[in-house]
C-alpha cells in the first residue's frame, strides 16, 4: 500500500469524522446548538483529531522502525560466509536495500514482476539495474540478490500491514469520537489539549534537531580524537595539515585559527557596534520622519547584500587600499589580504544588524521615560545616555551578541579578505584565517572521510559551536544580572 494512498484515505476519514461528529453533537441536543457544552466546530475538530493523531503517530513510528527491523532481518539472513572478501557488512546491507528498491520501483520493476528475469544470472540483473540508475557497491551476487528478493517481499507485506493498521486506528478513533459527541461532552477542552500537544511537538522538533546536530558533531569529533591527540589539537600553535597523498604527519592545532577568528571578529565588532548603535540612536531619537523613512531602508539594504559581494569588495578595493595607504608606508607588511581588511568589511556588513535591532529596541523604550528625564531638565543626550540606553541595554547586548555570532561564523569575507594562511600574529596587516575557512578547505577537494585531516573539520565545528553557545550563555547572564538590578 502506497503511503500517499494511506494519507489520502486518512484525510478522507478525518473529514468524514469532522462532519459526522459535528452533526451527531447537534442532533443530540435536538438542533439547538446553544445547549451544547462547546461550539459545534469543536465536536468536529475533536472528531478529526481523534481520527488522525493516533493514526499519524502510528504511521510515523512504523516508518521509522520498519527499516531498522528490515536491516536486522537482512543481517541475520546473510551469514558472514557470503560476504565478499574485505567488504563490510554495512555496505552489503545497503546494496541489498538498493537492489530491492531498484526492483521495486526502478524501470525494471514492471518486467521483473512479470517474471522475465527468473532465470537471468545475478550479474545480468545487476548490469540491468545499474543501467536503470541503481548504484551498486559491488557486482551483484546470488546471496545478495536472494536477500534483496526476500527484503522486497517482506517490506511489501509490512507495508500492507502498516496500511491496514493505520487505517484501522483512524477508523476506531473516529468512531470513538463520534460516539462521544453528545451535548455534555467537553469537546472544547479536548481540542485545547490537542492544540497544546501540537505546540509541544513543534517545540520538541526544534530542540531535537539541535540535539541531533550536536550529537552527530560529537560523534565525528570523538572519532577525530581517537586518531589525533586532544592536547595537540587544543594547544599546538601550528596548523599544517598534510593530505595523506603527500605523506608526513599533520599539525592540526586550533590556536592559530581561533586567534584569527577572534581577531577578525573583534575588529568587525569594534567597527560595527559603535557605528551601528550611534546610527540607531540618531535615527530613533533625532532624525526627522522624512530622513528616517529614507535612511532606515538604506541601511537595511546593507544587510541584504550577499557576503560574497562584501568579499569581492574586500579583495579588490579595501585590501589594496589598506596595503598601499597604511601597511606598506608603515612597514607593517605587503599583503593585500589582512585581518584588518576582513575585519573592516565584516564590520560594515554587521552595521545594519546592530543598528536595526538597536533601533527597534530603543523605540520600544516608553516615551514616559524620555518625558520623565526631559521633565527634570536633562538634555536629549543626557536622557539617551542615562535613561534610554540603560533601559535598552539587555536588547542591545543581545544585538551585539547576534552580530558577534555572525562574525564568528562568517566565511566568504575572510577567504577573500584575510586569505587562507593560518598564522598566530598580532600584526593586523598580516594575512590570517579563521576556523570556518579551514572547515571548508578541509572538506572540499579530494577527501577521505576517515582521516584526521578531514575529521578535524567536525572538531573545529564543535569548538565553534561551543564558543557561540558560551557567548549566548554569557549574554543571558549579563542580561539577567542587569534585570535583577533594575526591574
Amino acid at each position: 500500500m502506497q503511503v500517499s494512498f494511506i494519507l489520502l484515505s486518512l484525510a478522507a476519514i478525518g473529514a468524514l469524522a469532522f462532519v459526522t461528529a459535528r452533526h451527531r453533537a447537534i442532533a443530540s441536543v435536538g438542533g439547538d446548538a446553544r445547549r451544547l457544552h462547546s461550539l459545534p466546530i469543536y465536536y468536529g475538530l475533536n472528531g478529526s483529531i481523534m481520527a488522525l493523531v493516533p493514526a499519524l503517530a502510528l504511521l510515523v513510528a512504523w516508518m521509522l522502525v520498519q527499516p531498522l527491523f528490515l536491516d536486522g532481518a537482512i543481517r541475520s539472513d546473510l551469514s558472514d560466509s557470503v560476504l565478499p572478501e574485505g567488504s563490510a557488512m554495512g555496505l552489503v546491507v545497503s546494496d541489498v536495500r538498493r537492489v530491492a528498491e531498484g526492483l521495486e520501483s526502478g524501470p525494471l520493476a514492471q518486467s521483473f514482476i512479470a517474471g522475465d528475469f527468473a532465470d537471468a544470472t545475478p550479474e545480468e540483473v545487476g548490469r540491468m539495474l545499474v543501467r536503470g540508475g541503481t548504484a551498486l557497491g559491488a557486482p551483484l551476487t546470488r546471496p545478495v540478490l536472494d536477500a534483496a528478493m526476500e527484503y522486497r517481499t517482506t517490506s511489501r507485506t509490512l507495508r500492507w500491514i502498516m496500511g491496514i493498521a493505520v487505517l484501522a486506528v483512524a477508523v476506531i478513533g473516529a468512531a470513538v469520537a463520534i460516539h462521544r459527541s453528545e451535548g455534555s461532552y467537553r469537546a472544547r477542552n479536548v481540542v485545547e489539549t490537542g492544540m497544546l500537544g501540537l505546540l509541544m511537538v513543534s517545540a520538541s522538533i526544534a530542540i531535537l534537531t539541535t540535539l541531533g546536530i550536536v550529537m552527530s558533531m560529537l560523534f565525528e569529533t570523538a572519532n577525530f580524537f581517537s586518531q589525533y591527540p586532544f592536547t595537540r589539537f587544543f594547544f599546538n600553535t601550528t596548523w599544517q595539515p598534510s593530505f595523506s597523498g603527500r605523506g608526513g604527519a599533520s599539525e592540526l592545532g586550533i590556536l592559530p585559527l581561533l586567534w584569527g577568528t577572534l581577531y577578525i571578529s573583534l575588529i568587525a565588532l569594534i567597527v560595527a557596534v559603535p557605528i551601528g548603535l550611534f546610527s540607531a540612536i540618531y535615527l530613533s531619537e533625532y532624525a526627522g520622519r522624512a530622513f528616517r523613512s529614507v535612511a532606515k531602508p538604506t541601511i537595511e539594504i546593507l544587510a541584504g547584500i550577499p557576503t560574497i559581494v562584501y568579499g569581492l569588495f574586500a579583495l579588490i578595493t579595501v585590501g589594496p587600499l589598506l596595503r598601499d595607504a597604511i601597511a606598506s608606508p608603515l612597514g607593517l607588511g605587503n599583503s593585500a589580504s589582512s585581518v584588518m581588511t576582513a575585519g573592516l568589511v565584516m564590520g560594515i556588513m554587521l552595521i545594519p544588524f546592530v543598528s536595526s535591532l538597536s533601533d527597534d529596541i530603543i523605540n520600544a523604550v516608553p516615551q514616559a521615560m524620555r518625558d520623565g528625564s526631559l521633565g527634570l531638565g536633562a538634555t536629549k543626550s543626557e536622557t539617551i545616555r542615562m535613561v534610554i540606553v540603560p533601559a535598552a541595554l539587555p536588547g542591545i547586548v543581545g544585538a551585539v551578541l547576534l552580530a558577534a555570532s555572525r562574525a564568528i561564523g562568517e566565511t566568504m569575507i575572510v577567504v577573500l579578505g584575510a586569505g587562507a594562511a593560518a598564522r598566530l600574529d598580532l600584526n593586523p596587516f598580516e594575512a590570517m584565517t579563521t576556523v570556518t575557512v579551514k572547515i571548508v578547505s578541509q572538506l572540499t577537494g579530494d577527501t577521505d572521510f576517515n582521516s584526521p585531516e578531514t575529521l578535524v573539520a567536525f572538531a573545529l565545528g564543535l569548538t565553534l559551536f561551543v564558543i557561540t553557545l558560551g557567548l549566548n550563555v554569557l549574554a543571558l547572564f549579563i542580561v539577567r544580572k542587569y534585570r535583577e538590578q533594575y526591574e
Binding site: 524620555r370 518625558d371 520623565g372 521633565g375 527634570l376 531638565g377
Partner: protein
Amino acid sequence: MNDMRHVERTVRVDTTKITARDVQVFYGDTHAIRNVSVDIPDKTVTAFIGPSGCGKSTFLRCLNRMNDTISVARVEGRIEIDGEDIYDRRVDPVQLRAKVGMVFQKPNPFPKSIYDNVAYGPRIHGLARDRADLDGIVEKALRRAALWAEVKDRLSAAGTGLSGGQQQRLCIARAVATSPEVLLMDEPCSALDPIATDQVENLIHELRENYSVVIVTHSMSQASRVSQKTAYFHLGELVEYGETGQIFTNPQDERTENYITGRIG
C-alpha cells in the same frame, strides 16, 4: 480629612509667576486648548480642575514646554514665567524644565534604583558637592514625598519594583530633589491612600513657602484643601478662574457649578 485648612487659607498675591495669554494648543487638527489666559501667582498653590479630557494636562505641559516632545502638538499664544517668554527662541527648554519641575499623570520611574531615580536631577544639574551631600538631598526628597520610611532600607532596589502609589511618590521625590521654582503636579495623588495623600498635601503646603505649585486633581476636596486659586477647564476652555474659596462656594459660571456639585463628571 482635615477640612479646617479652609480657614487658614491666606492668599498672598504679591507677584505673578506665570502669565499665559491666548494660549492655543493643537494636536494635529484637534484643538485641545482654546484661548486660555491666566495669571498664576508666586508662592501659591493653583488647582486645575475639570472633566476628563478637557485639557488640564495639556495646558500644564505647556508651562514647561513638555509639549515640544509631541511632534503633532503645536502651541500658540504667549506664556511668560517671571516676565520672560518661555516660547522665545533664546529660551533653552532644558533650562526651563530644570526651573519648572513636573510630576506626570502616570508614574514613570526610571528603570534604575530608588536612589538613582531621586539623585538623577541633582546629578545632572550638579547640585551636590559630594556623595554625602547627595545622600542628604535624596533622603530629604524622599522624606518630603512621604516615602522615606518605606524605602530607606532598600534604596538600591529598583524603582520600577515599587507599588503604583509608591512609584507616584518616588516621582514626586524625584521632582522635588531638583528644587524647582515651579512644580507642576498632574494628579499626584491619584493612586495614594488617604494617609499618603495627606502627607503629599502637607508637602504641597510646605513647598508653597518658596515655590509656586500647580496641581491637577479630580478630587474637589483636595482642590479645596490645598489650593488658594482654582481654574476650571471645560472642553479646552478656561471657564472660570479665581480664589478657591470663591470658586467652590460661589461659582459664577453654571458649568463650574454643575461640575463642582457633581452634576457632570
